[in-house]
Subunit: 355 residues, 2 copies
């Protein structure tokens, strides 16, 4: 029973079936379970293991607690021709977010663009997945969500905004969308925890301490201090755009009223907000012409002279698409921490672990 | 004839009338001249002098050269219910961008959201102005444009993308929108030139040199090396979103084919691209409720405990609104470089300088 990274490999289909089985065991409908597994397993194939099937462990806790509901469906509260407000009714965030982006895509097919904002959602995993749903329909997609504050504003001593992720995807002829999915904090909180665990100091510029000034000591985070926003006032400003679209505009919880999906009372809904935009390429330009332009830019970037010591320039998402091709061909090589979480959740719900 | 900053003060109305007079003198229609002056003077009242009436000097050169046309109007190439493509026909970028955002606002009033992409535009000044046009109509606005490459990608030795600005505005009850307008480079190129002029070295992380590695020597920029993107791959990725929406999707010039509005042949159109999004708040939430939520968040951020040495936390745009209030009450105190450019353009076209 090795937990070595390369030794525990699983096919995406097997992992998908396992995720579905775990969720169904705690009352999730087959349809919601499949949708959620689609998101989690796709994310694992991209190599983004922090946001893949590892999350199932926390979701299971919250599903049993009732904070994530299994007896409801996301619904459209009201809609115009090209915008809509969706209430997620506290079902799995992946279900609500997929529903919302599909609605945005459907509106964009009719009207050229679709914008769907969401309240009563929960943690939605990798923001990039929903942007990619739009790219798969020949659209440019954007997705974002608010979260519990852990990031400072310039001049603050305590957290002001969440790491508020924002993602986009631009379709390419190859099927491998140009795809960016980033936290608006300077780094993910996980990088602080990892540095602390390995006894390392934190690079200057990542954290502020209890006095609000930069610190290289990560041991007191997140009880004291906060992450710094990416690029100072720029990242703070972009995080505030996310909070405005996903939080202020939707009736979702805002900043400190957002529940922690992982550490909060599992019987309380978290009331995360989200926002999803789809822009139909064909409404503006023939698809062939667009793809020729995208390909030309991709080639141009690849062929740009490299900095000393660099041998490639990547498009956003390119690393993820290469990992996915490998995972589809040879299985997903799961890191130890993911394997441990999957085994633990399997034992908890009484489903046989495939790893 | 002092060029001291505080000594040369002009009322916004006087400055507006001067800008209109200069443009009319080189053949711009009264309507285009007024629209462009609205953008330039508003930007000066915000204290963003790099993007205000100072630009008139370069625009005048390009208007006389013919690269900026005075005999055309921006037109809608095609439109769906909520998205449209606009051809700017190489008139002043401010005219095309205002036209495009007004079209997006009009679509958003009907459909909840409007997205308008633009080709054959030119330098459009401050991106935030167009986002603010939407905020003034109780909408959340976004605007962006591509430009000549001066920013590296992670791993490149030469520039890959422009500083590709992106802006948004969220309306607030006070009228002072939350408003961010940022280049996706780590700093504006102007900061490099200013440091070089004053004989200072460049802070680490702003520039790469001819080998593609970080340098503190700004003397060879922009002939060699490039600006770094804000926050590494994140800023590179966001700049590429701007290039996709404003460039790839519109038929505008892309990356190295964009003309330099300032240094290029003034008889050649620059073919900049732009993109404008308006999201109608009332289509999703009653306006009163939204404004109450915005006000609550603004108060919350203001009241957040301050870092040692800080006495305020600003909302994006707050500094600009305070400067504007002061400018409207006491006039705009113009920096020396702006005064010099205004005097020079006045002399060139034979209009009396008001400063």
């Amino acid at each position: 029973m090795s937990t070595n990274l390369s030794a525990v490999t699983i096919s995406p289909d097997q992992l998908h079936a396992f995720c579905v089985a775990v969720m169904e065991k705690v009352g999730v409908s087959p349809s919601h379970a499949r949708t959620t597994a689609d998101v989690l397993v796709t994310t694992d194939t991209w190599g983004v293991f922090t946001h893949g099937s590892k999350l199932l462990h926390g979701y299971e806790h919250r599903l049993r607690g009732g904070g994530l509901r299994t007896d409801a469906e996301p619904r459209i509260v009201h809609a115009s021709a090209a915008s809509a407000l969706v209430d997620g009714e506290s079902v799995l965030g992946q279900v609500t977010s997929t529903f919302a982006m599909r609605q945005a895509i459907s509106m964009a097919k009719q009207s050229g663009v679709g914008f769907v904002a969401v309240r009563n959602s929960c943690h939605f995993g990798a923001a990039g997945y929903y942007a990619w749903l739009a790219a798969a329909e020949n659209m440019i997609g954007m997705s974002m969500a608010n979260d519990v504050p852990i990031v400072a504003a310039p001049g603050s001593r305590t957290p002001v905004l969440g790491s508020n992720p924002i993602a986009y995807a631009v379709p390419a002829r190859s099927g491998n969308a140009i795809m960016l999915d980033v936290a608006t904090s300077i780094v993910a909180a996980g990088k602080i925890f990892a540095a602390v665990q390995s006894g390392k100091s934190i690079p200057a510029g990542w954290l502020i301490g209890a006095d609000g000034l930069p610190t290289t000591d990560g041991t007191k985070f997140p009880q004291e201090g906060a992450l710094q926003p990416m690029s100072g006032h720029k990242g703070y400003g972009i995080a505030l755009l996310v909070e405005s679209l996903a939080g202020l505009l939707t009736g979702a919880a805002v900043t400190h009223t957002v529940g922690s999906w992982l550490f909060g009372d599992p019987s309380d809904p978290t009331n995360h907000g989200g926002a999803f935009l789809a822009i139909d390429v064909e409404a503006l330009m023939p698809l062939e012409q667009f793809y020729a332009r995208v390909d030309k830019l991709i080639d141009e970037i690849h062929e740009t002279p490299k900095a000393m010591g660099s041998d490639r320039i990547y498009l956003p998402g390119e690393i993820e698409w290469e990992k996915r091709a490998d995972a589809l061909a040879h299985g997903i090589a799961l890191p130890d921490d993911v394997v441990a979480k999957l085994r633990d959740v399997a034992k908890k719900v009484g489903v046989k672990s495939p790893v």
